[in-house]
Symmetry: C2
Subunit: 562 residues, 2 copies
């Protein structure tokens, strides 16, 4: 797998070495590579190293100042001991101060948790902080407050933990699919297709900026007036008359030539004026409506709500593919589970049916959970300590037992029998299960992830494969505790006549889907796929309450900071 | 690294096994797992397997029909032998037909290139093709022609090769940065910041769809007329009079109460009418301009041109980070090197300077090239055979020698001395090097990648670190043969006063950058980063002429298919 050793294996090698690994592309060593060695850094005593990071807290004790320094490479801080004579302490101690320091790795007093600390010998660089002005100087700030400081909040424990977990989940995602021979396909963000025919979409346009440009242009050089036009037309007429006169008088060729050339100039000038005369400030219109044929893509274009339809074109060629990218919904939703910009993982598998789809979804979610247990245990411990006690337990449970699998019909029957809880919306066959139903199934009835499959066709999209009962489609949702729906997927309808009829029955326009039908016309194949809401997976893993804290830069109605 | 074995190691295990690995999440085995075993499938003779794929070509010979079947898992096809009696041959042979078949793996006659072939025993599924209607039935079609069929072109050799190479480069990118302790940060796509203050941006809006909704609403239930308003006002007046009369006449409480309640109803009704009376079809306006405070994000929002500024906020917390996502330019550019939607890889490193930056960029590009040599040799051989003879050579050269590194000043001096070529634009100190200059440097003078650094400050962005000469900034570009600029990067200005002055000198507004300045105000750190144009890297690796073939769904002026 390439020429480079992984950081993990490099660090394993370090355990037998007494050298500390230099961080690549930087003058300092990563704190992780000191304290996360198998020997917790004990093999490095006496070595001089350069570290850099931000001061989390500081305290003075017995004439020595202790700085807790964190560089984000892992959850834990390195304790740095400063003798007051070395450097102006007042500059080093405020929370948020950035330091790059040289020092000697030494053994802390017995009984301390950390196994190595750094005795400062030289301060190389300092980025100071005025604690009276620093917006996140306090050690504890509510997450909601931090959302006003998306440019600084990554320096807090919680948000940096979330960032590392999100990073781990993203790389685990690629690794899972690559290991199973899936090709990563980057589906388009700007699209002229609407996957579901339902989602509210953001429109992408250059018409406003073009109108601004035009307005500036017209202001700088105003368009010709009626009088200008008249004058220009008169000039053409005069010049034409002049040519005609010269010809009548049989003037010499040179004179006629000169006059013709002047006429041509006047005509060109008139043409230009006529063009500018037509310019009107504002958006281009046609028949009283905005004319999108003047927009960048010569038609209306939108931000994608899903890469599924497009990635299917690659599944019908490369067999196993996936897309992983941003998707968008312009819903005016203010819940703690929705974002206007969110990330989706969407695999698509040819020569596969709904059962394959469920197997893949279950294995993938388990792989993600195991990956976090293997690679992010420190961060998960913080989560379990501060945010959600059951977080690690939950991951372990997911990994250790098979998911429940029930049909939609069974799910409805189970929910109809529930007597200990009153649902806001009534359960009956045919309804789209509400979040309260989904959570009850996974949290109370099964106490583990549940895959519900074979949904009524009337509540599902046209592309889902019609079952033989002619009432249900081969769709499935994966429901998990804490979050509810984490994954939605289906086997796709591969039969041309059936999908054509579905499009017609649902009253969808046919033309926009002709390319999609081509996949069924030419070498059609049984295939299936699903979409995992990546930010919801982060929510599930971290136990956070609000999805706005699960993504670095959340977008929702009225908010798009930075 | 998680619980799953990688495909590679699974395949290595297979070489000592006589079992063929079942493809996960599918009923068939991947063709790759048969013919790409170290023994090229020879250990599998006699086994019965199910494979699926699309027929590339077919031919009949000696009563047997040979189908070349490809499933996209690797470049090579599996040859399937069909005895005419088994199935209607006419349905199986057209190019593009999808087949899932069972058969026995057997040894081909001596002297053939492939070491294993499949003797068909049973046809499980067929997706037929009518060759008269199939738009890509011909074996050779120009790439430009295929751009009209982005939903089918992945089935051609060239585009599927490009897809696998692109996939490999993406996973190599994540692996490189993860191995070096970088965290992947998903920066926002919708942004209210403009990274360079220069790029032409796409605007994101819901105003058009809101206006449509309003128009439909007003059509269904037209707003009140002037007469309606008058009537409603009159009613309020009457009801008020009635209350007043009852009070004057000292009527009983119940009657007065009833009258007051009627008055309130009339007032409420009037309020509602007044609101609807104000509704005007069209876009919301204020002072003759479009009022973006009514837009989804309560202000103008755009598609990002770079994630750099945002990812810096995470570098100033987690030290080593990168973003890898789509970026956008609304330039009316029709060249073979530009897309309106393209993908960028942007690492950002704290505690690092320009030299670290150049080291990282060089190692990263080398890692990508080595990865292709290690993992995509079959695909690269096709490239070398059909598209660009020097493609494999070029990768090997990149890997084996250090990049040249010269200052901008040196680059200009070298170019000024050039006598064997006349440049379209004159070379002199201070110019932004044109593509012709960049390509001459890397292709003719150095014949390898060149990193040019320390550019004049007046042609570079405000965030680049000012050098001590006060004339140049710590910027660098990586130029490579075939493509020209592949990477642009810089050390970022970490000194608050210096960057404030740069913003002022360049006439940029200060307010939009306050959050960016906060990174310098609070715990500032030396840091650097760069951006690699991912689609250009695909172009470089594949030797393709046009970037529209390097991305699955190209977007450019007038074009956004699917």
């Amino acid at each position: 797998m390439g020429t480079e050793e992984s950081l993990t294996s490099a660090m394993e090698n370090m355990s037998v070495s007494s050298e500390v690994a230099q961080a690549k592309y930087s003058r300092r060593v990563l704190i992780k590579s000191i304290i996360k060695r198998p020997d917790k850094g004990q093999g490095l005593f006496g070595q001089s190293v350069v570290v850099g990071g931000w001061v989390k807290t500081s305290r003075a004790h017995g004439g020595i100042t202790f700085l807790e320094v964190n560089d984000g490479s892992c959850f834990d801080n390195l304790q740095v001991l400063v003798n007051g004579e070395v450097f102006s302490l007042a500059q080093l101690t405020p929370t948020g101060t950035c330091v790059m320091v040289e020092g000697e790795l030494t053994q802390p007093p017995e009984g301390k948790e950390q196994k190595v600390e750094l005795k400062l010998t030289k301060v190389l660089e300092v980025g100071t902080v005025d604690p009276r002005k620093y917006p996140i100087a306090k050690t504890y700030l509510p997450l909601e407050h931090l959302r006003s400081y998306v440019h600084l909040r990554a320096r807090t424990n919680t948000i940096s933990v979330v960032a590392r977990i999100r990073n781990a989940l993203a790389y685990a995602t690629h690794t899972f699919f690559q290991n199973h021979g899936f090709n990563y396909i980057q589906t388009p963000i700007i699209t002229t297709s609407d996957c579901e025919g339902a989602g509210e979409m953001f429109q992408v346009t250059t018409l406003f900026s073009e109108a601004d440009k035009l307005a500036r242009d017209l202001k700088e050089s105003p368009p010709p007036t009626e009088a200008d036009m008249e004058a220009s037309k008169l000039l053409v007429k005069d010049k034409g008359q002049r040519v005609s006169d010269l010809k009548t008088n049989k003037a010499d060729k040179a004179s006629i030539g000169a006059a013709v050339s002047e006429l041509q100039k006047a005509k060109d000038q008139l043409l230009k004026l006529e063009e500018r005369f037509k310019l009107k400030p504002g958006l281009p219109e046609k028949d009283g409506k905005i004319d999108f044929s003047h927009d960048f893509f010569a038609r209306q274009a939108f931000l994608t709500v899903s890469g599924q339809l497009q990635v299917e074109t690659y599944a019908c060629a490369l067999s196993s593919v996936y897309t992983f990218g941003p998707t968008f919904r312009a819903e005016n939703s203010h819940t703690s589970r929705h974002l206007a910009e969110f990330w989706m993982v969407e695999p698509e598998i040819a020569f596969a049916d709904l059962e394959d789809d469920m197997n893949c979804a279950e294995d993938y979610v388990k792989f993600l959970c195991q990956w976090l247990l293997d690679n992010c245990l420190d961060d998960m411990k913080f989560i379990a300590d501060k945010i959600d006690k059951t977080a690690i337990d939950r991951l372990q449970k997911i990994v250790s037992a098979p998911f429940a699998r029930i049909t939609y019909t069974e799910a409805v029957q189970r929910l109809e029998k529930v007597t200990d809880k009153k649902f806001d919306s009534k359960v009956e066959w045919g309804i789209d299960l509400a979040s309260e139903h989904e959570r009850y199934l996974t949290e109370v009835i099964y106490e583990k992830p549940v895959i519900v499959y074979n949904y009524p066709k009337m509540i599902k999209a046209f592309y889902m494969r019609l079952n033989e009962d002619n009432k249900t489609v081969a769709a499935m949702d994966v429901l998990v505790p804490k979050v509810g729906e984490l994954i939605g997927g289906s086997q796709r309808e591969e039969r041309l006549e059936v999908i054509e009829k579905r499009i017609e029955d649902m009253g969808l326009p046919r033309e926009p889907y002709e390319w999609y039908l081509d996949l069924r016309r030419f070498g059609t194949v049984k295939h299936c796929g699903f979409g995992l809401g990546f930010d919801r997976m982060v929510l599930f893993a971290t136990g956070l309450e609000n999805i706005r804290d699960a993504i670095p830069f959340p977008r929702y109605p009225g908010k798009a900071d930075l």
